[in-house]
């Protein structure tokens, strides 16, 4: 059986992260960010993670030509772990791609979805999520009230009975305290443990809370001669705020079973035994080099938290 494995990463944003829509959509800001269709919750698309992971892994392996749109400058792409992992297109020497070599990659990188979203409240920062999102990500959520049907009510993982505000929104609170347990590989991580206040809200309210508490900045271009604001150059942009937790899946489907032996010593000390190691190395560099736009304004860094968890392959209900 060809190697098939599905992993789930937990990320925490260290800076605001801006994955722009191109700025052509109408919205409350000039430069809006990508959202999930339907729920309108911001996300980091798989395309962005895929591109960043490939580019950084290629730099780490000291073959930057293994990233980008064409890989004609790679001498032997089958022996390059980055090309092997993410796929490549190499034209023939006469420039005809039909006669060249094309391989699709052996990893699929999925969108990163918001799991725990930081919001300010009267008790300081709290992280908002939903039962469905946490359970989908592999968390266990216990001790929820049986009669929790009201969208105006939140459930907390600490003891409190007074109402609580999430940004501008005031919610009633169930006295019953929920118990939320992260998967083993994540629960002891310092960055996760720093979250001691989690608020569970109904799924229908989550989008409203997230969208009301995104980071929105306003900037203006400065005229270097006058030192004053340039006319008509004011613009606003939004971003997923720092300390947001997101999860993203990675599937390895190594149909080629020919991962090249990595003899090169990587200066990070990592050892690449398969394509999942290449992806992991690329993801680790996002913590330093960032993903998405506004990188020069200090946006984009995001750290993987702990080791990825391995997912079981779906649950079949066969009613035969």
């Amino acid at each position: 059986m060809a190697t098939y494995q599905r992993q789930r990463y937990l990320f925490m944003t260290l800076d605001p992260v801006h994955i722009g829509t191109g700025g052509y959509r109408l919205g409350r800001v000039d430069n809006s960010i990508v959202r999930e269709p339907g729920t309108k919750i911001p996300k980091i698309p798989g395309t962005s993670l895929h591109g960043a992971a490939r580019s950084y892994a290629a730099q780490l392996y000291e073959t930057p030509e293994a990233a980008g749109q064409n890989h004609d400058n790679i001498e032997n792409p089958d022996e390059n772990p980055v090309c092997y992992t993410f796929g490549y297109i190499k034209k023939s020497k006469n420039g005809n791609s039909d006669e060249g070599k094309i391989y699709s990659g052996v990893v699929n990188i999925f969108d990163a979805h918001v799991l725990l979203f930081p919001v300010h409240s009267m008790v300081g920062a709290v992280w908002v999520s939903t039962k469905e999102r946490l359970e989908d990500a592999g968390f266990t959520v216990e001790n929820l009230p049986n009669d929790w049907n009201n969208i105006n009510t939140a459930v907390l993982n600490w003891q409190r009975s007074d109402a609580l505000n999430l940004g501008w929104l005031m919610l009633q609170v169930f006295g019953q305290q929920a118990k939320i347990t992260a998967p083993t590989k994540w629960k002891d991580e310092k960055r996760y443990q720093a979250i001691n206040k989690i608020v569970l809200v109904k799924d229908a309210l989550f989008s409203q809370i997230v969208n009301s508490n995104l980071e929105v900045r306003t900037s203006v271009a400065i005229n270097p001669e006058t030192g004053a604001a340039e006319e008509g150059a004011l613009f606003t942009y939004e971003a997923i705020p720092r300390a947001t937790f997101l999860t993203a899946d990675v599937v390895l489907d190594d149909y080629r079973q020919a991962f090249p032996q990595v003899t090169k010593e990587l200066h990070t000390g990592d050892i690449w035994n398969d394509s999942l190691d290449v992806v992991k190395a690329g993801f680790k560099l996002i913590e330093w080099l960032g993903v998405g736009g506004m990188g020069t304004r200090g946006f984009g860094r995001m750290a993987p938290i702990g080791e990825p968890i391995i997912e079981s392959s779906g649950k079949e209900q066969d009613n035969e």
């Binding site: 059986m1 060809a2 098939y4 599905r6 829509t21 191109g22 052509y24 990508v34 999930e36 269709p37 339907g38 729920t39 309108k40 698309p45 798989g46 395309t47 895929h50 591109g51 960043a52 580019s55 950084y56 930057p64 980008g68 749109q69 993410f86 796929g87 039909d98 006669e99 060249g100 070599k101 094309i102 391989y103 699709s104 990659g105 990893v107 699929n108 990188i109 999925f110 969108d111 229908a204 989008s207 899946d249 599937v251 489907d253 149909y255 080629r256 079973q257 020919a258 080099l289 736009g293 990188g295 020069t296 392959s313 779906g314 649950k315 079949e316 209900q317 066969d318 009613n319 035969e320």
Partner: protein, 285 residues
Amino acid sequence: MTWKAYRVVFKLCSPMHIGCGKIGNVQRTRPYVTGRVFWGALTMRLTRDETKSSATDSKQYEEFGKKVHQQLAYTYFYPAIKSENPDYEIAFSWQDENLFRRRFLSSYTSTALVYPQQAADEGLLHEVEFISPRTLDEGKQVDLIGYVFEKEGCNLKWKDACKRLQMGGERGYGWGDVQLKCIDKKDSKDKQLFNASYHWEEQGDRIMIKVLESANILAHTIAENVAAKGEIEPLVGREWRSHNSTNNHAGQHVEYFGLCWTPGSIVERSLDFAIGNFGIWHLPE
């Protein structure tokens, strides 16, 4: 010959792109999953699950692809929303195309970045249309429903393979991710498919679909000798044939399946169609 029928429901977990051509820089999607896409995803999974070493020779896929043709028949898969009664509300795009488009289809625009420069690469802006995993109006979960018919003696582990399928385009970016919700075996007396306008029966070695007068067809249907109202398109698809002398890499070979009525076309009289390879319907010879 005995066939068993199953209703298969997938939860759509990410955007799904079933390519049907390009307009400008917009890659359009079909509003349903064709039998060919399902066949391709299933063949890929079955081949890789059963192959001990590398699966880079298209002959390996060809072998399992033929087995799927021989041992299974299947319908196209359509978006559906879980409701109380009936249990799923199936959304056929032709019932109200504008509403369908507003509820189920969206698009994603992106360009390649050059990371060292933190800037957009030139000339690579593109837009890909997709079926949304959540409805755009109410944010409801979108599922995909279709039927699979299994021939007696089938030795393909297709039910297990269905747990790990990804269908359609942009899979490298996580698109087309589906989670198997259920495979419900249909009672042998229950011959209805999707709704009351469609019934199935076995006839020798094949599955026949009875379509009532003025009903819409639910799969590409070979146009020859079929009187219908709707659109006709040449059905083509890309394939990977590593044994070809040219065009032998992934997706380089273009295969032609004939002129077909598109799903949603209306038959002028009641007709019986056989389900052929790739879920394409045709009149029995």
